[in-house]
């Protein structure tokens, strides 16, 4: 009669799983950087087109970029963050992604 072996769960395995879970839950931020040449109204139009945000939200984000040098315009899963980053770069804005805290 075959015996059923119990599943082994070492403390090392448990630690690895926990670490991965925490890492994937940290959001990825799409960051737009200020530059001295892009007209403000163009930034608003690009945000509206790419994200579908309201005019007010786009204007607020644009002003944050202008006054603080950068703004986080979207946070979430890495794949979507990369996709938004690409769209903003294709539209001519300076953007990067970074992992949030």
């Amino acid at each position: 009669m075959p015996s059923v072996q119990p599943l082994r769960t070492t403390s090392e395995e448990t630690e690895v799983v926990t670490s991965e879970t925490v890492a994937t839950r940290r959001p990825w931020n799409v960051v737009v950087w200020n530059d001295p040449v892009t007209p403000m109204s163009v930034v608003v139009v690009i945000f509206r087109k790419v994200f579908g945000y309201s005019n007010n939200k786009c204007t607020q984000l644009m002003l944050t970029v202008h006054h603080e040098g950068r703004a986080i315009v979207w946070s979430g899963a890495r794949e979507r963050a990369e996709s938004y980053c690409v769209k903003l770069q294709v539209a001519g804005l300076s953007t990067t992604i970074e992992q949030g805290d």
Binding site: D35, P36, V37, T38, P39, S41, V42, V44, V45, I46, K49, E82, C85, V86, K87, Q89, V90, A91, G92, L93, S94, T95, T96, I97, E98
Partner: protein
């Protein structure tokens, strides 16, 4: 005296282009420059067309780079082939805006105009080029 508008949004959603021959020639040259920069790795604008999303990550993500480049080709080429049109649909107007903005950023990067001080110190020809691009972008953004 009123200021002539360069772009007018019509009721049917299309954007009417009211550039004179000089303006048409300017945007055609800009669009052609962006297309050339996309195809020529030695072009002075080339490196600014496809900046890394995150240098540490991008080396491991060639798919993102390819997708970015292919999307940019589409916008610039669409803008170039429609540079003589009187009316632009929404996608074409977006391609114009994107390509003009890419050109503006490329000029800024290739001339090191990354601060207000550097911009103010740039030569007259570069400054006029930047101002013309900004004027076109500002006028087009009002219609979108």
């Amino acid at each position: 005296m009123g200021v002539a508008r360069l772009f007018v949004r019509r009721r049917d959603g299309r954007v009417e282009v009211r550039l004179n021959d000089g303006g048409r020639s300017f945007v055609h040259d800009v669009f052609a420059q962006v297309v050339a920069a996309e195809r020529d790795p030695d072009h002075e604008w080339h490196t600014s067309l496809a900046p890394p999303i995150d240098p540490a990550v991008d080396q491991d993500d060639p798919v993102a780079t390819l997708r970015r480049q292919s999307e940019m080709n589409t916008n610039a080429e669409l803008a170039l082939v429609t540079s003589g049109e009187q009316f632009l649909n929404a996608a074409e107007a977006w391609a114009w805006l994107s390509t003009l903005q890419v050109a503006l950023r490329s000029v800024a990067v290739s001339h090191g105009l990354l601060s207000d001080e550097r911009l103010a110190q740039s030569d007259a020809a570069t400054l006029e080029y930047v101002r013309t691009l900004q004027q076109l972008l500002f006028a087009l953004a009002e219609c979108l």
